[in-house]
């Protein structure tokens, strides 16, 4: 086990470096990094202004802009080659310096700190919804496998997996918030109760397709488990079916669900970009989309890095958990 963990940790560190390097060089090599950082200001002829060669009607403004450009050059080490810049940038990251948002001069770390809770609440609620729906659904489908309910649920989950989540979000928003007015149509943050209540629809939008795929996995595993001897034994003892399903069969059937938990969180993060947009939730996903539209590159880069690293670490943890649950995995 120890050797396996060490091997995985080495891989984790390598992947983290590769992911950050890929993201960083994409930002720096695709397009002019100075333009990426300071936008139109990069076109200013600062040397000319300083030498007094270029006339500028708003000298004060221009020299201030030139200061901005110089500061950006300095902060992102733009006079260095990309690999050096990368190393310096990682150094900044490790000391907690994520750069400054080019849009409103806020430190990026503060922007993230403000927006992160909303996204975390949304993701947690989505996972709760999906597991809460998938477990009873999968159990019933497996218990009555190949009967009407199971066949129907196969069709239903196939359909759910084919709805793009933005389409599902719009349809749910229309039906439940506008037509029948069960849930609020937009984000509310008056108090925690209102916040959670207004996040129900977004969480359902994210969680329902995930529930469909969890249900498929759980059903398949449960059907296999139900043929095990200890289940026959429990039946022979006369235990009620519900108890057999939930106490005896469910736990050993959760392996596949645990495995895809990490991967599915990545899909959820992708989905949250869209869902936060539909329901107007001021979270990380909305922030990154706004930042992309406004070319606010420090924010985009920081959020992409944050999300990718979280995703990598999460999958690493799930891998460890899984290999602890099932020792055969380590042999691979």
């Amino acid at each position: 086990m120890a050797r396996y963990v060490v091997r995985r940790v080495v891989l984790l560190v390598a992947v983290l470096f590769a992911v950050t390097f890929l993201g960083f060089s994409a930002m720096n090599l695709l397009g002019d990094p100075l333009v990426n950082v300071v936008g139109v200001l990069a076109e200013l002829d600062c040397e000319g202004i300083e030498a007094g060669l270029v006339e500028d009607t708003t000298v004060d403004a221009a020299s201030r802009d030139c200061d901005t450009v110089a500061a950006a050059r300095d902060q992102y080490h733009l006079d260095q080659p990309v690999p050096v810049r990368y190393v310096l940038w990682v150094g900044d990251l490790i000391t907690g310096d994520f750069g400054t948002s080019f849009q409103n001069d806020q430190p990026v770390s503060q922007v993230i700190r403000e927006k992160l809770p909303e996204t975390l609440i949304l993701l947690t609620m989505a996972q709760i919804v999906s597991l809460g729906v998938a477990i009873p659904w999968g159990v019933i489908a497996a218990y009555r496998a190949n009967r009407a309910f199971d066949r129907g649920s196969t069709v239903a989950s196939f359909g759910l997996l084919s709805v793009p989540n933005f389409a599902l979000g719009v349809v749910l928003l229309y039906l439940l918030a506008l037509r029948w007015q069960v849930f609020p149509s937009a984000y509310e943050s008056d108090n925690l109760g209102a916040l959670v209540f207004s996040m129900v629809l977004p969480a359902v939008t994210l969680g329902l397709p995930l529930a469909a795929s969890y249900q498929r996995l759980l059903r398949t595993d449960l059907i296999t488990t139900l043929q095990e001897d200890f289940v026959h034994m429990a039946r022979a003892k006369g235990l009620p079916p519900l108890r057999i399903m939930f106490r005896h069969a469910l736990r050993p059937s959760m392996f596949s669900v645990v495995t895809v938990f990490g991967v599915s969180t990545g899909a959820l993060i992708g989905g949250s970009l869209v869902v936060e947009q539909i329901f107007g939730i001021p979270g990380i996903g909305r922030e990154i989309v706004t930042a992309v539209v406004r070319d606010d590159f420090p924010v985009v880069l920081a959020i992409v890095m944050l999300v990718a690293c979280t995703f990598v670490v999460l999958n690493f943890l799930v891998d460890l958990l899984y290999s602890w649950l099932d020792p055969r995995v380590r042999a691979r």
Binding site: V15, M27, S162, P164, V170, R235, L273, A308, F311
Partner: protein, 330 residues
């Protein structure tokens, strides 16, 4: 019922004690035992035996052809949209904005008074073009990387495997945003972006099937006959690996179409006034006021997109079953 089940069944029925013993009590116990056995059996799922499985696999079924028909219609519409006798998708109609569906405008008009039916038809162009290009790109790049890595093994395999792992470490939409954020949003860039997303999953699939086939006798035979690596890869491995890859084409395309829709929904897909895409149409009509008063603007593209993705998934899944390919990476 599989052979395995039958064995356990026999074991329980002809096992120790009660069968040979006399007396009422023991007979009752025996009956009880059979009752339990029946209970256990009835709750079991009959595994698809090999014969039944093959029968299912060899028949694509009516609904498969229904899905294919829809996809063909969509492809036809996508290719010939500019030539079809429909309204100009960018021109403001005479009937005014937010008109409900009528004989003139079958799907009504949107907030700017443009014909929704015509826009939905034109929207198929970008959605399907991006989806198709992306999966072809993923197959060519990912497929060749996967085959080469799986055939040569060793360092190369490790390097390619690591690259795939890194690509898969980005949540796909986030990676797509990273690329479209830094480059301009032309059709080519968006297609390439989603194509890059497809490289790693397709590559892993190609690598896995190459590993299987590279061990087979006909590859060894070719090597003994003195065939070069290139010839073995192209003549022996490729035809075998292409089948599972091809069987997953439609499933991959469904994912690509949804990915393009998500980008378009976020306003990060192909830019421009005449670049119509389903995702963009859906977000255009998704404002609360439009959703309330002119639901048709959003719902028609939603339905068309859903049916298209469903058809891709359904037909793709049938083809996958037909060729008996296990889903590995998707």
């Amino acid at each position: 019922m599989t052979a395995d089940d039958r064995r356990t069944g026999n074991l329980t029925a002809s096992g120790e004690g009660p069968v040979s013993r006399k007396g009422r009590a023991s007979r009752e116990r025996l009956l009880e035992r059979f009752r339990i056995l029946r209970l256990v059996r009835s709750s079991r799922v009959p595994d698809d035996g090999p014969a039944e499985d093959a029968a299912v696999r060899r028949r694509l079924g009516f609904s498969f052809w229904l899905a294919v028909a829809w996809l063909l219609i969509m492809a036809f519409v996508a290719v010939f949209a500019p030539m079809l006798p429909v309204a100009d998708p960018t021109k403001v109609a005479f009937s005014g904005p937010r008109e409900p569906p009528s004989a003139d405008a079958w799907f009504g008009t949107d907030a700017l008074g443009r014909d929704v039916f015509s826009r939905t038809m034109h929207g198929a162009r970008i959605s399907l073009a991006v989806g198709g290009f992306a999966i072809v790109f993923g197959m060519v790049v990912g497929g060749s990387l996967g085959i080469v890595a799986g055939y040569f093994r060793g360092r190369l395999d490790q390097a390619v495997g690591f690259a795939f792992f890194v690509l898969l470490s980005f949540p796909s939409l986030v990676l797509a945003i990273l690329i479209t954020a830094t480059l301009d949003r032309s059709l080519l860039v968006v297609s390439l972006t989603i194509g890059i997303l497809a490289v790693a999953p397709v590559g892993l699939l190609a690598r896995a099937s190459t590993l299987v086939f590279a061990e087979r006798e006909f590859v060894a035979a070719a090597r003994v006959l003195g065939a070069r690596h290139g010839r073995i890869i192209v003549r022996e491995l490729l035809p075998n690996v292409v089948i599972p890859m091809g069987a997953l084409t439609l499933l991959g395309m469904a994912i690509a179409v949804v990915a393009e829709g998500s980008l378009a929904f976020l306003g990060l897909s192909v830019a421009g006034e005449d670049a119509i895409s389903w995702g963009k149409m859906i977000v255009d009509g998704a404002g609360l006021r439009d959703l309330q008063n002119a639901t048709h603007v959003t719902m028609f593209p939603v339905v068309v997109m859903f049916v298209t993705v469903l058809s891709l998934n359904f037909a793709g899944d049938r083809i996958r079953q037909y060729f008996d390919v296990k889903e590995l990476a998707f």
